[in-house]
Assembly symmetry: C2
Homo-oligomer: 521 residues x 2
């Protein structure tokens, strides 16, 4: 066996190491080299023999221990040397040949191929890419904006974390039986992609629900099922606005919507929120908005309900500016007194509103089924773009959901969780008022809807520090000030009650009140 | 009752109509007006009484039949006039009040509110938005690019439509029992969003599979579960490249990937494909690529396998230019002879490759589960951005899939469909060769992989016309020339065999051959 140590090889990224080369005409040396690699106990110990041999040869070629043109041992000789079946060697050689590492035909011998990037300088290597470009950051600028780890906190199931609903009340057995039914009865096209805006019976059920409960003006053709609100917003941001165009967002407002607009390279323009919802100033119109993102039924996070005057004003701006209003009706189902407020979309006679809804809050977050009601002029482009950009699917889930709604389970589930949440809301409010009621500087939001309360605090209280303090006691509350994009910020805490049981509410509510009191002093 | 016809009102968008106004101090007139609206048989006939009254009042206010400041009848009087329960009227009034259409408190009377946009000119109306902006197109420019209805044909289950796998062979009963198991045993956090790159056991199963079968260098932390390849590409396009930066795509290539890059405002730069895969020219490097999108295992649509020399060249360009390679390994599972070819990612020592895979082809399209293997430096940003931009979910499906793989069903399903498709491929090839074999101007692709064959035709054949001709006989084949972004185009037909049964293949294959022959003559 001839081994020539003749060079230093730049190994992997950071390690220099000596290596040995086989001479071109020495199959026996190549055989021993492969045997020595395979003898290493940590060399892919769990792979089958054929695969280990293939990996060993590839590694030796990569490291130029087996150089271009080197003749490999015959399959018979190598099998003998390695004490494996000859077919194992033949299979490994065939794989190496298929992938271009070795050349040759059976009978005429097997040779290491000429591979340009390994310094073999084969004539077949195209000559491009000799220049080295200057270094760049791994992420794009927009990637750095949206991919920053400092993004909003992720939902967690801890007492008082706002935003999430209590999906433990979801009727799992019933859902399972509906799922089984659609899988049993199923038409195989439900396994395919969805190319017409979603499963028709579900779109019909949503149409009926929105007409009756949300006063949305809608025909079934206008409804497109999406994989949730983020996908709905993503489509709107890309299809309705170009790079650099302006989107109005509520300030304070919903983080994740802002991220979608940022990723779509829109100019995010904050418009203040007051007790009547979005309150645009003359200065806000200096740049023409292309999109206006609002949560009129229950503003996130303040809970404000947009007044009728403001709704009409917003629609008027949209009509004059030919802007699109994106109405995110994310939790309008949770109104505890009276009927849910009518949608903004239902007031619009100019077809400027895209109505966006979701089943994440009412059923369970991971279901990933949402919907949009589009102005008729947009329907065809949105269907086509959704198909090309997202390849929608999950028709089996949509079919189960359609049955869930049409059999009345949706309405009764909604009634049930509305009662549950309403009671929890009352209990939380009562507890907080009992312990904080004497403080005139503290206001507890009174809107009878949604999944969280806002405890407003005086300006001198550091609500971020307060939320950290609460976290130390196992209470997760978000600071109101962190939802603002521009000053002045209001101070306060978002307190979610949806999945805290009544028994825990009085305990944790009292604890939270004492923490707030200590900070406010 | 006093009704004054005093004006013409611009009604809805296109209709002029007379209307009547109540005087401000005439509750009886208002009562009669509401009664007359409700008497219309087509006025929301199916809504409950309370809701109909609410709608009637809203309509009258909108049309200014009830003007600002007009006093409404007492609930007792109106209930009597309409012959409904008094509670019905009270509930409707409360809803109107909650939404701002009327004002007042019980006892002091109910009045129509001052609403600026209805011309009431209330002082509370902000003065913004008086200017009218010039008209704009409904879609953004990028929306028009990607939303055009002329987008690629949607997959259909007809003989020879390329791209889709035969999901009718998916083991539905087994899948159902796995689903039931995870729903029965379930931990409620599987109903929540997924915030750590996906369900850990599924990521582990994918890691093991990719290491063994695809020679991917991967640790479980690098794997992120996505809602399919389009979501994977969407994240890469936004996080790794900025507006106007260049992405290399294969020419001819995969439409839907190009749409994602277009929607992300990247400059799509076509690079030619030859029999060894991507063949970059010196001129292609004049603009620095930020991304390079390739399908090395089985180029879509030509079927070319990228040679080792080209793979190393591409990795070299990526390292020098600090570009990212997006390796879409969409159907590498379907290799009918030997082991699947190793991935490009496995050759890369510089961590410039994002490996992208999917379960859509192997299981069923609508499952919407795909994955990415990311270079370590990108993992945290991608996880964070995926959470914010897409709110991933479907953990129950992921859990069922993890069991499907770890119990060996995935491997056996793969073996089974590989055999099925291999046999169908052989039958199609044999049929076409038998009937077209004498034509030296026609080549049938010989690559033993994928889900379709390419029948290459001479330049004078109009392959688009030919595919239309075939469609008239119920055969769906795509014209090769339509996959090109720039000349010169090659002519041919993509013939999918994956879901055509053996019996049908000889019939349709012969028919297709005769159609091709007639056109080629």
């Amino acid at each position: 066996m001839t081994i020539i140590v003749d060079s230093i090889w730049y190994h992997e990224k950071y390690h220099f190491t000596y290596f040995s080369r086989t001479t071109l005409d020495n199959p026996a040396a190549a055989s021993d080299l492969l045997a020595s690699i395979l003898a290493l106990s940590d060399f892919h110990p769990r792979l089958p023999a054929q695969r280990r041999l293939y990996e060993a040869a590839k590694e030796a070629i990569h490291k130029q221990q087996l150089t271009a043109g080197a003749k490999l041992p015959s399959s018979r000789d190598l099998a003998k040397n390695l004490a494996v079946a000859r077919n194992t060697v033949i299979a490994a050689y065939e794989q190496l040949m298929a992938e271009g590492f070795v050349t040759g035909a059976r009978g005429s011998g097997t040779y290491v191929a000429h591979l340009p990037q390994l310094g073999h300088g084969a004539a077949s290597a195209p000559a491009v890419a000799q220049q080295v470009a200057p270094a760049v950051a791994p992420l794009s600028q927009r990637g750095a904006r949206v991919g920053a780890a400092a993004a909003g906190p992720r939902f967690e199931i801890e007492p008082f974390a706002p935003g999430d609903a209590d999906f433990s009340s979801f009727p799992i057995k019933l859902w399972q039986s509906l799922q089984n039914r659609v899988w049993r009865e199923m038409h195989s096209e439900l396994l395919d992609y969805s190319d017409n805006g979603g499963y028709l019976p579900l779109r019909q059920a949503i149409t009926a629900y929105l007409r009756l409960s949300r006063s949305v003006k809608v025909n079934v053709e206008q409804v497109i099922i999406t994989a949730g609100t983020q996908q709905s917003l993503n489509l709107c941001a890309h299809l309705l606005a170009d790079v650099g165009e302006t989107v109005w967002v509520e300030d304070p407002g919903y983080w994740a919507a802002q991220r979608v607009f940022q990723a779509a390279d829109l100019a995010v323009h904050p418009v203040p929120i007051d007790k009547d919802g979005l309150a645009p100033r003359d200065s806000d119109l200096e740049t023409r908005p292309r999109l206006m993102y609002v949560t009129p039924s229950h503003q996130y996070p303040t809970g404000a309900v947009m007044s009728l005057a403001r709704r009409l004003q917003l629609l008027d701006i949209a009509a004059r500016q030919q802007a699109w209003v994106l109405e995110d009706d994310y939790d309008s189902e949770f109104r505890y007194t009276g009927r849910p407020l009518a949608s903004l979309q239902g007031l619009d006679n100019e077809n400027r509103v895209v109505y966006i809804g979701t089943f994440s809050k009412v059923l369970y977050p991971g279901i990933k089924v949402g919907y949009m009601v589009l102005p008729p002029v947009l329907v065809e482009a949105f269907r086509s773009a959704q198909y090309d950009l997202h390849r929608p699917g999950q028709l089996m889930v949509q079919a189960a959901l359609a049955e869930f709604i049409s059999e009345g389970h949706f309405a009764s589930h909604l009634r049930k969780i509305r009662q549950t949440y309403g009671a929890r809301r009352e209990a939380l409010k009562r507890t907080l008022e009992k312990h904080l009621g004497s403080k005139t500087s503290i206001t507890i939001s009174s809107e009878e809807s949604g999944l969280h309360l806002v405890v407003e605090l005086p300006d001198h209280v550091d609500d971020v520090a307060l939320s950290k303090l609460a976290a130390e006691s196992g209470i997760r509350v978000n600071a109101l000030s962190t939802y603002y994009l521009s000053p002045p910020v209001r101070r306060g805490l978002l307190v979610g009650y949806a999945y805290v049981t009544l028994e825990k509410i009085s305990y944790y509510g009292k604890l939270l009140a004492s923490i707030i009191e200590s900070a406010e002093r």
